[in-house]
Subunit: 248 residues, 2 copies
């Protein structure tokens, strides 16, 4: 059996309750591993366990299936869990807090940080979780979908919760700059590029008529600053200027 | 042709560049519609267009396909777009800002609010977008995935971006309370329930030994407050207390 990379309890356990299609169990395993979740539990899978169709679909996520716990009922699967989220689209006749996926995973992170074991339940493909199953959860998670077209498949639901878990646990800057080995140009470099532009354009008679020249120069300087030029781009533009004049 | 519910330009346009499998185009249409995106464009789909496999997979999202624009090259598909995000996992040798899905859709919402048309590009299943295609985008979007298992399929990528778009445009409270027709109990109701507990427990000899009684009563009151009881639950507990005494 290939090993997992994370310990039980370090991230939410994904519990698939009465899943029907093996393919969906395999796709759920892939979705989990895409975002760093590895601990799966299965409650009474319709087609028995292990399931060759699940293994075929999981491919690289096979270890998630190999380590998946098999339980005959939900209380058994939750016996060692401290806090349980039930994923359901419909609001039921049960008094229960309802979280967004993001808020649920924020809460899960806090609970896990406090040493609790957290589980997230997903119901069978057709009908979702039964009320008796939701009643055994501490809270509901509802994925906000288009009310006019809300059918998400099992693996997509798992994918979105797992994605929100990874968002909680990684520090990806909202916007980074891929500089591809170069640096941003300094103010002086941009200034000198502006001088070079003015010199070549002056010589070519670009600043015409005379009275519009100051505004044209102002716009030129503003444009060069606004672009956020890199050093490599400054060199490219110097070369373009030189070559255009030379080639005339 | 069945109508769409949203106008072009009110949400990002999803551009599938050289998609290979019709099934994936149909699944992408479903993922879009799940989160309220309807405007799809196709650039040189491998198996031609229309594609029966796409239609079969899309089912309820058929109108997205019926209205999809077909283009022979990327510049044609982007001719009327003001700002373009390229979805790619790999950082390329191109100077370009790199956004998370959330930050990209925050930016998209701001741009659309300012009257701009925004597109999000997705590459073919096997190899993703070419550098020549990414160079035509204003920014990169990278989905944060487990580096040890990062393969997301086309429809999953579309699903996550569409989900982030819907998160930008809907005001779902992070945590709501599903009260199922009842209300939370008032402080007075909880207080009276505590009195009832104390009365019945006192009569049954629960508060023993005597010197521990104050702490036991304190813990009882704290527990009843901490539970966040509803009115219905308060009534249930009154009934339980009465019946347990009566049944002795």
């Amino acid at each position: 059996m290939r090993p997992l990379t994370s310990e039980l309890g370090s991230a939410p356990v994904v519990v698939l309750v009465r899943p029907q299609m093996g393919e969906n169990i395999g796709a759920a395993a892939r979705a989990m591993l895409n975002f760093g979740l590895e601990h799966m539990r299965l409650v009474a899978p319709r087609d028995g366990w292990p399931n060759p169709a699940a293994v075929a679909m999981a491919s690289g996520a096979g270890p998630v299936l190999e380590h998946a716990g098999l339980f005959s009922d939900l209380p058994g699967a939750l016996a060692d869990c401290d806090y349980v989220f039930a994923t359901t689209a419909r609001v039921r006749g049960l008094v229960k807090p309802v979280y967004t996926p993001e808020a649920a995973m924020t809460e899960a992170r806090a609970l896990i940080g406090a040493g609790k074991r957290v589980a997230v339940l997903f119901g069978p493909e057709r009908a979702g979780l039964e009320n008796e199953e939701v009643a055994r959860a501490n809270a509901i998670v509802t994925i906000p979908v288009n009310p006019a077209f809300y059918s998400l498949n099992l693996a997509q639901g798992v994918l979105l919760l797992a994605y929100e878990w990874m968002r909680q646990t990684t520090e990806t800057p909202a916007r980074a700059e891929n500089l591809a080995g170069t640096d941003f140009a300094t103010g002086l470099e941009v200034e000198k590029l502006g001088d070079h532009f003015e010199e070549k354009l002056e010589a070519s008679g670009f600043f015409f008529p005379q009275q519009k020249a100051p505004m044209m120069k102002l716009n030129l300087r503003n444009m060069l600053t606004r672009w956020g030029l890199t050093r490599a781009e400054v060199q490219t533009l110097h070369g373009i200027l030189r070559q255009l004049v030379r080639g005339r």
